[in-house]
């Protein structure tokens, strides 16, 4: 149950940071609606942000394993 709580907290953290970054990147002056080009920008930004998160996680884990192997 603790594991689930941490996984949920982790997903929420990712969601919050991604929303913040993609809002800053894709919405210049906020207008009367989320127009088509802004939606496309957000969709692309989300995909790249999750790619970045995955790449960073993998890079961190592989570094950790190399360090452990060297000890």
């Amino acid at each position: 149950q603790v594991k689930v709580q941490i996984a949920v907290a982790n997903a929420q953290e990712l969601l919050q940071r991604m929303t913040d970054k993609c809002f800053r990147k894709c919405i210049g002056k906020p207008g009367g609606s989320l127009d088509n080009s802004e939606q496309k920008c957000i969709a692309m930004c989300m995909d790249r942000y999750m790619d970045a998160w995955n790449t960073v996680s993998r890079a961190y884990n592989s570094r950790l394993q190399r360090e452990r192997a060297n000890m």
Binding site: K3, V4, A7, N10, A11, L15, M18, T19, D20, C22, F23, R24, C26, I27, K29, P30, G31, G32, S33, L34, E38, Q39, I42, A43, M46, D47, M50, N54
Partner: protein
């Protein structure tokens, strides 16, 4: 259980307050580069639109995560490790 419900409601309220502080900061940066002697109508409209578009962005992201296949491997990987 009543105390618990009360506490949960208060925690939820505090979460909303933090979100409002966060949006104030974000929209302040987007809409108020030069604070003048009054809140002019242009800045006010910008602030209101900023809040609306921020919530739209959150909902757009949540919706897309639920409907896309990409989300599944991420969240399951996330839950299983």
């Amino acid at each position: 259980p009543q105390l618990q419900r009360f506490m949960e409601a208060e925690v939820q309220k505090q979460r909303v307050q933090l979100l409002i502080h966060h949006m104030t900061e974000l929209c302040w940066e987007k809409c108020m580069d030069k604070p003048g002697p009054k809140l002019d109508s242009r800045a006010e409209l910008c602030l209101v639109n900023c809040v609306e578009r921020f919530i739209d962005t959150s909902q757009f992201i949540l919706n897309r995560l639920e409907h896309t296949h990409k989300a599944k491997p991420f969240f399951s990987q996330n839950l299983s490790d």
